[in-house]
Symmetry: C2
Amino acid sequence: MLSQKVLLWSLIFLVCHFAISCKANQQSEYLYRFIRSKMFQQNPSHVESYSSTIVDEHVSKVHVNVEQHLRSRKSDKVKSLPGQPKGVNFDQYAGYITVDAKARRKLFYYFVESPSNSSTKPLVLWLNGGPGCSSFGYGAMQELGPFRVNSDGTTLSFIKDAWNVVANVIFLESPVGVGFSYSKKPLNQTNIGDKNTARDSYIFLLNWLERFPQYKIRDFFITGESYAGHYVPQLAHLILSNNKKRKNHKMINLKGIAVGNGWIDDNFCTKGMYDYFWMHALNSDQTHKGIEKHCDFRKFNVTNECVGYENIADDELGNIDVYNIYAPVCNSSATKYGASYSVSNVDPCAEDYTTTYLNLPEVQKALHVKRTKWSPCSDLSWTDSPASILPTINGLISSGISIWMYSGDIDGRVPIISTKYSINSLKLHVRTAWRPWYTGKEVGGYVIGYKGLTLITVRGAGHMVPTDQPYRALTVISSFLLGQLPPQLKS
Amino acid sequence: MLSQKVLLWSLIFLVCHFAISCKANQQSEYLYRFIRSKMFQQNPSHVESYSSTIVDEHVSKVHVNVEQHLRSRKSDKVKSLPGQPKGVNFDQYAGYITVDAKARRKLFYYFVESPSNSSTKPLVLWLNGGPGCSSFGYGAMQELGPFRVNSDGTTLSFIKDAWNVVANVIFLESPVGVGFSYSKKPLNQTNIGDKNTARDSYIFLLNWLERFPQYKIRDFFITGESYAGHYVPQLAHLILSNNKKRKNHKMINLKGIAVGNGWIDDNFCTKGMYDYFWMHALNSDQTHKGIEKHCDFRKFNVTNECVGYENIADDELGNIDVYNIYAPVCNSSATKYGASYSVSNVDPCAEDYTTTYLNLPEVQKALHVKRTKWSPCSDLSWTDSPASILPTINGLISSGISIWMYSGDIDGRVPIISTKYSINSLKLHVRTAWRPWYTGKEVGGYVIGYKGLTLITVRGAGHMVPTDQPYRALTVISSFLLGQLPPQLKS
């Protein structure tokens, strides 16, 4: 039983924490809040795989005829995004796919094709985490999409190293309630959690492929970061089990998954987070010893002593962006101390510009969405979240698809050591020894190849890897799509 | 006894290592080469304090009369450095102080006064390490001095956060053989090591204060980095013991020392270095385990297995600047991949520009040095280097002077964890708990106050802290000189 005192303590902590928090973007804080709330749940979720029995009926409900989809595709075409720079040489689409006709659950997507040879390039789905955060507002507009919102909040700039250089990329707002995705049925009456997110995403994909049938047999990859460490393997599992059931009619040509700084195991990720704080001299020796002594994350065992030390650990960090421990924080006289102290030249206030832009009526019109107040993240009451995704990942390894875990090495929230603890627990055989990988003569990070899984670090990147290190991230994803390890040093 | 095989292995390693090495600047590599060479010494040096018995006679030999010194000061005045920007509003001096008249050992110094209120500001001595590297070429021209050499190698720019904002700073090239310092007696017949470096530096100071008598009673502080983790405490010890012997005639008004990323203990620093590599995901788990199993750094015990794992550890790092693990490397198409991937906007090729500049005949003339080929570092045959400076530091603690250890937290060569291991071994009482310190709303790093010693980290700085984080470094040194901990968050 959980003591009243602990619950109170935790609530006080959360309130205090958010009061001072312009320390990181919303996506980041949603994950942290979610993790903390899981710690205080009386009935922690169990490790389990994803049911695929319900899928068929759902799919049949929403399948529409070919002509209708072709019409939809035409209307989904984005002619131009307000304030976009001149010289856009690729096609953009945005719109809704209905995943439950009765409840009118509609998922919003933004799709950018590659400027050259898009018809032979692979199809990549990108998912942001949270849970509750927008893949469009983060993934597309702040990470790997072709545009960034300028500080005026109304115009866009090109990004050189966007992922549509090497792929056709779908950004899916998932589940309903996130970003532009919505439901007719009130959210508090909708069961939202890992299972339904996977199911709705799967139904989305089946229907999206009807709307864009030229991608039906294309090589398909699922990518994502943070809490998408749940979404990506779960969706992959669902696709593969359904593919199996329909042997003669391979629905989705899934080739691999890539997860960035993924939350894949509550125990290893939480332990790794506190270890990282200490290893990077953000926490004192005394506090780290206290956590080691009093916290048992295997049980997510909440004791007063553990919570006390966790709170001290958090206080000791001070006002840093834990998701990129060397970045400046937004609104901290960034012009004076900011940019030049950052690992990269990333603007820590980009989320503000994006929020302004996506709430412009003309932008929402151009994206074919119903007029709404767009937020980077949404509060969702989450029903199911397994303590570990490692059994699911183990299942995927045996399926033979390509599995990459990449990690920006200056993210303190879902740090590289957490990913290493998780992978090490699988006791996989090392196939390619740890080595640096390169972009030109610069070390982009490190790579180690296991039987069935590849671990890659991205040097000098935080939680949002493509934001912090666009060129290195593009190098990683290009190698992933080609099915080869990232480059060695050329002599 | 050391096996032939190990020696051979080590030589091969060193050669290979230097062949690929444009990976960091010379100062950095000199330290590493020195540490490696110590590992293979048959008679490791013992821990000991510094003899002060020889000083009196030396001092008397070089003392010259007041008029002579005043003439020298006048001739040491630097009218203008070639290519210096307009608006220089402080005095600069450069010249030699003879520390041994017979052997004609002359130490070069560069002295910059503060633009405002220099007559009340403290006097600070800065020492670079190596051993064998130039405090002028690094400290003054690349770290905390008021100028930086532009990429043309002929002109200078101002640095906003130079330390002469808060102090009058002497940069001393020490020992003889380093930078512009020289000896008539050939270096290979000169006993060069820690003891003589401390003694010559002390004699330098006594004489320098005769040349600049207005600084005689001024508050005096010794600062330095890297192998100056030896120099600084040793020189402080020598000053204090000689002050004690001359109770009625306090020679030097030493108030405190500040050591940055200092090599202060062979065991803790070496162990910390490999731990840091692993903790920052630069080395594999396998290699780290091998080092933990086979290397006993307390004994500097060289076994084939240990050397083997150390070499693997080094290979695994790849071509990174270990002294700032997130910085770009020089000559790696820096214009393409460089600057934007750096923690700060530091040019990794600054050492090249400085070397070009300091070898210009007009620059050497302006600095009043005899025409010479200037190098950032010099090969010196080192005679004595105690395995630990911790006993010396312990002695200084009991003397009551202020002792600060600061550490740029992204230096992998003398990392923060090494400094923490060293300090922890002293088992000092914690007086002020670990907390973040701030520049405005940005966390500049962390601080913990012990009885008699203060440890400070500088966030996002490598080995050369003032180079990577000039504003944060200036905040640290300002607090140090004021005798107060760096600022907390202002609400």
